[in-house]
């Protein structure tokens, strides 16, 4: 038992140092992106193309899952609320849980799976096939040409996707509550409007999705940029993107919620 111990200890130390090194390198990449801020907005076409790849192509999965999430919320909420004779509050339940939590969080998780992995694999493969080094040879900064447009595209896409998620989710909840279950449509909307506050709920949800957009895109970009230039390295980096993004989103969501509700 003791025989393996020094090896485990060394492995633990190695992992810790590796982790700290990666945080530092990620931060450096983050600053580089800001450094090339002007340069990347001088070529809006690049950003538009990346918004198409990350945002528009994620629309289908986001909208379909939003509708189903909304419908499930409607069914589950009704099931519990009708025991207390307040099934009209279903609109409030659906809207608040979507706008405050599920909209930003589920969108970020889907985004990490749908768009984040694509970014990581693309950049990792660019690195493996030495396209990034070729750019450097031509005095084109890969950060300005490849990384920064994808970052801004992700940051722009995420709040839009999250807002669409919340809206479509509310419609899904409406679809279950009003035509199927038979809750009064007027009560559904008016109770919702009475308890969803624009600044406290909707704007906070948008802020959350902005933060998740920065975090998810940044993790995807860094994992791709940092990937060992081999087939195995790219595949591992892609896995790490999903795992790290999901953990970061869920952890940050708790911290952000604590800030927003505590205030």
């Amino acid at each position: 038992m003791l025989k393996g111990f020094p090896g485990t200890l060394a492995g633990l130390g190695h992992r810790t140092i590796e982790g700290i090194w990666r945080i530092g390198a990620g931060a450096r990449l983050f600053f580089y992106i800001w450094y090339y801020l002007l340069e990347s907005f001088k070529r809006p076409r690049l950003i538009v193309r990346e918004i198409f790849a990350t945002g528009v192509l994620s629309l289908l999965i986001i909208l379909v899952s939003a509708f189903f999430v909304g419908m499930v919320l409607g069914l589950q909420g009704y099931n519990t609320l009708q025991k207390y004779g307040s099934s009209e509050a279903i609109g409030v339940l659906v809207a608040l849980s979507l706008v405050r939590e599920l909209g930003p969080v589920v969108t970020a998780l889907l985004f990490a799976g749908r768009a984040g992995t694509a970014i990581t694999a693309e950049i990792g493969l660019m690195k493996a096939t030495e396209q990034l080094s070729a750019m450097e040879m031509m005095a084109v900064s890969p950060v300005a040409r490849v990384i920064a447009p994808r970052f801004w595209a992700g940051v722009i896409s995420m709040p839009i996707l999250a807002a669409l998620f919340s809206m479509v989710g509310v419609l899904g909840g409406y679809f279950v509550a009003v035509p199927i279950i038979g809750v009064d449509a007027g009560a559904f909307w008016s109770q919702m409007q009475a308890s969803v506050d624009f600044r406290d709920d909707i704007v906070n949800g948008v802020i959350k999705s902005l933060v998740f957009g920065v975090v998810c895109t940044m993790i995807a970009l860094f994992e791709g940029y940092d990937a060992p230039p081999t087939a195995e390295g790219v595949s591992r980096a892609t896995t790490r993107t999903v795992v790290n993004s999901s953990l970061a989103v869920l952890g940050l969501d708790f911290i952000l919620t604590a800030f927003m509700i505590g205030a």
Binding site: V48, R49, I51, F52, G55, V56, L59, A95, V99, I156, S157, P159, I160, L161, A163, L164, S166, M167, V168, V170, W189, M192, Q193, A194, S195, V196, D197, F198, D201, I202, V206
Partner: protein, 162 residues
């Protein structure tokens, strides 16, 4: 500038996103229903505000006419000083009565205003002097029990004199 299909898609995407945010704000949120335009501020002191919170509605005859702006504790009088923003369209006499009510049995608490008969009207910065505190259930029950007990005692004593 040459246009591409990607531009069209991204444009539609951004427009959809903006529409969703507007939809959330107007249809789901309260951006339309809470449009109290110009306001004036009055204060009211309560000995006990119960569960009243900032942003709680201020109603008169059941109609929302303002919002609670802030609640602070006044350590001089040991009272809660509640700042209320009222819609400029609605004027109230200076002897208006401010009560704290509860909507339903478990609902949120709100301030109800009942107009008095005075000619002079409340102005910005005025203080509503007639107030009634929130009903605290424990107090109510203890009062009830106390009066019940004293009733019994008095009936006992009347029996004794008979």
């Amino acid at each position: 500038m040459e246009r591409t299909t990607i531009d069209l898609w991204v444009g539609a995407f951004v427009a959809l996103g903006l529409a969703a945010i507007f939809g959330l704000a107007l249809k789901v949120g309260n951006l339309t229903s809470s449009n109290i335009g110009e306001t004036y501020t009055v204060t009211a002191a309560f000995e006990n505000i119960g569960g009243l919170k900032p942003h709680a509605p201020v109603k008169s005859a059941g109609v929302v006419i303002g919002r609670v702006d802030g609640i602070v504790f006044d350590s001089k009088d040991y009272e809660a000083k509640v700042t209320i923003k009222l819609d400029k369209r609605y004027k109230f006499p200076t002897d208006t009565f401010a009560n704290i009510y509860t909507a339903g049995l478990l609902g949120e608490q709100y301030i109800g205003l009942e107009a008095g008969g005075e000619e002079a009207q409340l102005k910005n910065g005025d203080k509503i002097s007639h107030t009634q505190d929130a009903v605290v259930l424990e107090k109510l029950i203890s009062q009830f029990l106390y009066s019940k007990a004293s009733d019994n005692k008095s009936s006992d004593s009347t029996k004794a004199t008979e």
